[in-house]
Symmetry: C2
Subunit: 506 residues, 2 copies
């Protein structure tokens, strides 16, 4: 069918066109079907319908199709009904509980990356794998396909080290310490990180305060070879891009299918050529991993998948019921990390966790003997080598290497939340802490967040400040304070929690 082109400058993130219902009927296509545009063999587009937006005889081309056609632009195009992509049948197989072959998974991941699938098709795939999961073989193939779908780093020098934290614990700024410790000891660690989606600050959000974080794969390789490590935003690279497309659909569905989570983590490690990886698995209420059993299962799965991919994976189940350190929110977390690097001054939870995981990497990379990694990591912090290395990393990424913790500005609007009575902090609620930090403006307002004056198990008196909320905008501070007062993110109790009377004879 010959149709006159009408560009519609709306980005829909897919190759989509819109037809008048009359023409669509004539063509024999329905909403969600595909059409092919003649002389554009590679371009099939998903069809939307309209009764009035586009006149009969016209075809509306959304932004992405318009761009794709712009080089060979014509006033009219010839349009044919097109077959559904093979991937739709592959997705149907997963819905029917059938196993996929390696070839099918390759096709599927290719179609995901090339935006050939509608969001509802990806949603069906994710829901099906959420319910039916994948076999070890399928998960391995999925990971390999995701690695192959984008840019890869190939280093001449090995080993390549990497570290990943499963999300869910607030204030987890440990990468800012681990990367310089590891690099300072002569190992290469090209660390890509995420920005917060539901959290108060991802490592990329933190690092961005000190230096640019958006680089492509070649730049990451060059910088890593030069100074030993980087701290960059994975989202700016084309490393394992299928993952980003899947997350776009997972996020509104609030699901993270087990096999996808494994593949997504390991694809990023595989694509940067990691040989040794430490996994931080925060465990406890309010984290993704509710208990030790679940944590061990995830650890086994990650180790197993690493083994299949030729990667050496060690896992650490870490305490996740409370925040790491005493700060939540980009600027506050950067200050806390810098203080540790500058003067070894800071909360035990932060120093111990960072040194433990860095120590594992130092042992895996053979720069520390067995059980000597932790001590070497602490030593690297104390003797200032980690700070020196961190400054090199900041500099090579384009930041100011002379920065100190005093240069980092926090939100000018602050308010304390005080203890309602004498007692001890019985419980901290991670999710509420994150909610309050987000209400205060984190992670977008870098200066917003929470400073904890007391943590779980610590004593305090009525009227003592438990935490200070920081915000860059007054209205956001007010929202955050209101929320914190209505539903405090902590419980203060006396040491005797409950009195249970002894039985009496009657």
């Amino acid at each position: 069918m010959q149709l006159k082109v009408q560009p519609i400058d709306v980005k829909v993130g897919k190759y989509k066109v819109i037809l008048n219902t009359i023409d669509a009927k004539e063509l024999g296509v329905h909403e969600g079907d595909r059409v092919r545009i003649k002389n554009h063999v590679t371009l099939t587009a998903i069809v939307d319908f309209t009764e009035d937006m586009i006149s009969p005889g016209m075809i509306g081309l959304y932004h992405e199709v318009k761009e794709a056609l712009s080089k060979e632009w014509t006033e009219t195009v010839e349009v044919f009904p097109a077959e559904k992509p093979k991937s739709t049948y592959i997705i149907r197989k997963t819905m029917d509980g059938q196993k996929l072959t390696k070839e099918e998974i390759d096709i599927l991941v290719k179609d995901i990356v090339e935006e050939n699938l509608a969001e509802i098709e990806i949603a069906a795939f994710l829901t099906a794998t959420y319910i039916n999961d994948m076999t070890d073989d399928e998960t391995e193939w999925l990971t390999r396909a995701m690695i192959d779908s984008g840019d890869k780093l190939e280093f001449d020098t090995h080993p390549i080290m990497d570290k990943h934290s499963i999300g869910g614990v607030p204030g987890n700024k440990i990468s800012l310490l681990i990367v310089p410790i590891v690099a300072a000891n002569g190992l290469l660690i090209p660390k890509t990180s995420s920005r917060a989606i539901t959290g108060a600050g991802g490592t990329a959000d933190l690092m961005e305060i000190l230096a640019p974080v958006e680089f492509d794969a070649a730049e990451i390789k060059r910088m890593t070879e030069e100074v030993g490590g980087v701290l960059v935003w994975g989202g700016a690279t084309n490393i394992a891009p299928a993952d980003d497309k899947l997350i776009k659909v997972e996020y509104p569905l609030s699901i993270d299918p087990h096999c996808q989570m494994l593949a997504s983590i390991m694809a990023k490690k595989g694509a940067i050529g990691a040989d040794h990886v430490v996994m931080d698995i925060p465990t406890g209420p309010g984290t993704k991993i509710k208990n030790v059993q679940e944590g061990r299962k995830l650890a086994r799965d990650l180790i197993n998948l690493g083994d299949r991919l030729g990667m050496d994976v060690d896992c650490a189940l870490t305490y996740g019921a409370s925040p790491v350190g005493r700060t939540i929110g980009p600027a506050l977390e950067v200050i806390e990390a810098l203080k540790v690097l500058e003067s070894f001054e800071g909360p035990n939870s932060l120093i111990e966790k960072s040194a433990s995981l860095a120590g594992m990497l130092l042992e895996m990379g053979n720069v520390a003997g067995k059980d000597k990694g932790y001590d070497l990591a602490i030593e690297t912090l104390k003797n200032g080598k980690a700070l020196t290395k961190f400054k090199e990393i900041i500099k090579i990424q384009g930041g100011n290497p002379d920065v100190t913790h005093k240069d980092i500005s926090v939100g000018e609007f602050t308010e304390d939340i005080i203890a309602p009575n004498n007692g001890y902090i019985l419980e901290m609620d991670n999710k509420r802490l994150v909610q309050i930090a987000r209400l205060a403006g984190a992670p977008n307002d870098k200066g917003a967040g929470i400073l904890l004056h007391r943590k779980q198990g610590e004593p305090l008196k009525e009227g003592d400040p438990v935490m200070t909320i920081y915000a860059e905008k007054k209205s956001k501070l007010e929202n955050a304070v209101k929320s914190a007062k209505e539903r405090p993110p902590f419980i203060v109790e006396g040491m005797m929690l409950e009195r249970i009377q002894s039985f009496k004879e009657i």
Copy 2:
């Protein structure tokens, strides 16, 4: 956040807005999250992102939101992040294999009808129920919620009769005979039908050749009370509208979850107040129901659900391996049906099937004695009462009651497909027949379709025409003929299919 309004005149079928990434970050919302527009308590919209289409400080309102706000239009609006609708948590429950309560299903169906859910959310729900199915209780509640979600017919006179065919067999024009037979015997049968989605012609596509088929619920009731029956398009009514919204997502996913199929069929029957329903379940290769066992299971489920809803359901497993009658495509099918009504002239398969199902309804409605329904149906055809009633139905729907089969025009371009050798029709392939009819233009070109000169088991000689393809457009005829010749929709073999030699002693 105060934002300046920018209307975007694109219909997206949902309440959707689009924000610049900068504002979205400031608001703390991500793609797929919801925002609420102040002073519009009922309106939450799904958020899309853009980096350039909408400037910071603006909010793009897609057509549906623009319309909803048009009465209280202001230049700027105040926008807040909003909670996800409760339905998203309900969908998550189905994904986790948990059972839903009646209240949860009511909320879910309400949100589906009111377009409060994103398509990916509906896709997740359908995928989850496709995999996990629903209990009998859940299916009943779903059906009731679908009935209550739209218009209902409430007749003063009872019983109300209805009939439904599970799709998949081409040429199934039986409703054109059943409805007048039943109505001619004094029973009320307000029949809503569908248009073809993947087929070559739904009952509504056929009836539309004779009379308008788009009416609302009140008109359907009035016409049925006046002449006893109607043949209208269900899609034009607001009867069980949730179903249409679900089909919009089911179609591109090519799934029809069992519980949804049951609920979707029975909701339409329930909403028109049916007391007695006959279900036609075509069974065999190329239909939806592959074998008799599957057909029986579906029959039991329909009868069981009918029982729960207070409906008397009888099911007929029918022969579905070949087309019903000898025509496929709207005009050809109407001609075939009219000939039966006018002169009792036509293929046995069509007359028998129609009379059998009509007979079941006549018995259920107590106008024929036990096992006398079939004969009464045949009698009603032979004595012309069915024709007279059909003319009344055509007239009340606004068509010309004097129409005869000679007035129906078919496509002017035709070509015969001939037998390649002497033999018998060993097999007819329903799916290929439909594909070819669709290539010829059906159902949109009403005159396009296929006339079968031979059917399964019938003998023929080399060069005899097996079928004639009709089309309204020459190019479509050529496409259809080319396809039919490349992959014939039938197999002609001699009576001896294969020669198996006897064993010989060696």
